[in-house]
Each structure stands twice: as C-alpha cells, then as structure tokens.
Symmetry: C2
C-alpha cells in the first residue's frame, strides 16, 4: 500500500491498515459507521508553529492527528506557559459537549489533522455506543498519562525530566519507526528546546544544558538537527527515576 500526502481522502483509505487507525477513536468502526464518519470529516494542514485554536476560541470540531505533532498549552497572564498535552498521530483533540477550546492548540511540526464537525460527531456518538466507549478508553489513557506527567513536574529533577521525555517519545514514536540492528534506537525528537521546556516546566537553557550533559556522558547522541540516537535504552531509563518495570501506560 503506497502512502500519499493526505489531502482530502477517506479516513479509511488513509489509515485503515496502519497502526494509527488501530489506536484512533474510530478503531472499532466499520461499514456504515465509518461511512457516517466519512460524511462529516475533513482534513486540515498546518505548518510548524501555526496555531490551530487559541484557548477560549470557538472550536466547532473534534479531531484526530494524522501526521505530525500538536501540543496543548496553558498560558498565565504574565506569559508563563505550561504544555498540558502532546498529541502524536492517532491522538484525539477536542471535547464533545464543549463550545470553546480550553487550551492553545499548536502545531509543533507540520501537522495534518482529521477533523469531524462537532455536532454531527456527537450525534453519531449517541447512536453508536462503542465510539463513546472508545473515547472513554482514550480519555482514561490520557488521564493516566497526565498523572505520570504530574509526577514528573512535581518531583523529578531536570535531568530526570529530560531523560523521561526522551523515553516517552521514543516509546510512542519508535514503535512506528525503524529500530537499528545494533540495539540502538534512532528516531527524531521534533520539538524545539523551547517546546521541551514548556513540556517539562523548565527554562530552555536548563533543557539545553541537561541535553549536553546526557550527550557528554554518552547516554544519547544527536545527529543533525533533531535526530536522536539512544545507544542503550535501559541505561537511559535508569536516569528517569521511574520504576524499572511497568511504568508508562498508553
């Protein structure tokens, strides 16, 4: 199956056989239901840095990330910002039953979203209980991720935060990507130092310093702009402060 840059193609053609679809809100939809979703969906593309919606603005759709990365952030009056959500392909954005967005939604990289008009989506949800069930599952997963994130923000050191972030992205991303032969893990971390600092509750200088430290110690290597290589994943894991086993859900 050849993949083309998504424009206005059926969701099913786009993702039906790929891992993304199996994690998305429509994971268990088939036949008629999928057709109904087709009717109300449309794609939107954004360039890295563009804002999808501002906190407080009207948001008349819900959406699912097809390619790229989106972030949810909150801003305080004086400009302090905290990222509160990181959406990778298959992740869901928007809240049924709410008019406006509670967060700034921003494209961290070039981004394609598959949007569903909200009102009809809600109607389909009511008719099709398993969409609601799937959404509940996804929301519970997100809540677990948020709680893991709270531990990171409240109790981890800068070094542990950086190591954790790299591991989190590696786990989510690398599963869809290539896995080098020598056991090293190669993937790209498509976040600026500033985005990382907003994720971690640090300043960008601290992020830069800690990245340099991990690099000097050989725990990570960087190639070119944002390619990261982890020679030994378990070694990096030990720097996260997490339990060696279990740990992250999602």
């Amino acid at each position: 199956m050849t993949r083309t840059t998504p424009k206005i193609q059926p969701y099913s053609q786009e993702c039906s056989d790929c891992p993304i679809r199996h994690r998305a809100v429509c994971a268990r939809c088939e036949g008629e239901e999928l057709d109904a979703l087709e009717q109300i969906k449309y794609y939107r593309s954004f360039e890295a840095g563009q804002t999808v919606v501002w906190a407080g603005d009207k948001m008349d759709f819900v959406a699912s990330v097809v390619t790229g990365i989106a972030t949810l952030s909150q801003t305080m009056e004086d400009g302090r910002r905290q990222m509160v959500g990181l959406l990778l392909p298959s992740d869901f954005a928007g809240r049924p039953g709410r008019e406006t967005s509670a967060y700034d939604v921003t494209a961290a990289t070039d981004l394609v979203m598959c949007c569903f008009r909200k009102k009809p989506f809600e109607d389909i949800m009511l008719r099709t209980p398993h969409i609601g069930q799937r959404l509940l599952e996804m929301t519970l997963d997100e809540l677990d991720a948020a709680r893991e994130w709270m531990l990171l923000l409240g109790r981890k050191t800068a070094r542990e935060k950086i190591a954790s972030l790299i591991c989190i992205i590696a786990r989510r991303d690398a599963s869809l990507q290539l896995n080098a032969a020598d056991g090293a893990l190669r993937f790209d971390l498509p976040l600026t130092r500033e985005a990382m600092s907003e994720y971690l509750g640090l300043t960008l200088e601290t992020v830069s310093r800690q990245m340099s430290a991990l690099r000097k110690e050989g725990l990570i290597m960087t190639e070119g702009k944002r390619q990261i290589v982890i020679p030994d994943f378990d070694l990096l894991l030990e720097e996260t402060g997490d339990d060696s086993d279990g740990g992250f859900l999602v």
Copy 2:
C-alpha cells in the same frame, strides 16, 4: 431530611436529594438502573490515614466517595511522592477494564466509599449507555482538573500554589457548606501539611512557611486545628496567578 452516619443503606436514600448524588456517576440513573446498581454496591469505611489500595494491587471494584476525602498518589523508588488525584464527595475512583490500581489510594480523612463490584458494574455500563456517557463526562472533567494541576506544578511559585489549593478546596467544599454573613468564607481544609505538600510538589516546611506568610498578611485566618477563614476570596484569588475570570472547571 435527617442524615445519619452511612452504614449499609441504599445509595438512593443516602444521596438522592443531596448535591452529592447530582454530581456522581449515577446522576442520571432512575428506576431499574438504580436498582441494578443497588444490587452490586456496598459501603466501606476507612479511618484517616488508612490505605484503601496500594498501587499495583488488585482492585475489583469501582467506587464513589460518599463522605470524607481520598487521595491518589504515586511513589518513586526513593520515596518521593506526588499526589495525582484528590477525591471529594461524589468523585469517582477506579478504572473500568483495569485489574489493578495504578495509584495508592489513601483516606486523607475518615472516609466512606460506595463501592460497586467491578465486573457487574461494567456489564451495567454496557447495557446502559448513559452511565458510560456520564463517566466520560466525569473523566473529561478530571482530565481538565489534572491539566490545571499540571500548570500549578510546572509554573507556579510556592505562594501561588498554596493560594490555589485553598481556593480549589474552598470552591468545591464551600459550595456544600456554610457561607458566613459578612462575605467571609469558612470551611475546613482537612489535609495535613504533608498531604498539602504532596499535592503541590513542595516540602511540608515550605507549605508551613507560606501558610504563615498568608496568615500574617491577613489573606487567610486559621481557627483551631484545620478550620480556615477567607475574609476576602477575591483577594486570595489574585495570589493564585490565575486569570481573574473563568479558571477552574469542575
């Protein structure tokens, strides 16, 4: 309607007319559905400090807080702890479809929970879509609260954190409680300094110092053990760093 200490009484008798019921997972249940829930429910009481379940332990029920306060916490190997959930009356605990608890669940005060055996609860959920819908709503609310909490953990100063916590409890709690004539807000903050520090990602010494500071400045007053009086709520709100309007959901 006289209230008695809950022992083994029907959920409906216990809460049908009180604000708790209207926020709980069974908010929209009636007749048969409520009867079905009656069949599978039982109360459990805990003393302040007791553990309801440990992270990783089997948890074969879901539950809703009737009276008292429960907390969800995560612990790192070296003992650092972060609270990730604070459950007040009507709040829901437990995840359908998961065998074990992901968090330590602890009684912060004397606590009564209304438990539903998990398997039958899941069955009822499948038969009764609006329970799932209600649970989705509640989970989305919790996710919003978690994200507000992340902003607090990542970006607020110790002083702002304390002020925020007091306002959060006051809003949730005071709505069920008395409201003094002179515009002052009186309620009890039934958390130890240690519990507060676990909530806020601080040490208990810092919590104590900041509480003293707010007291000296007259922003709060304390009466006896844990009674708190807020002479001017708006004044305290300004110390939270939040937008003056909107702000907390839930």
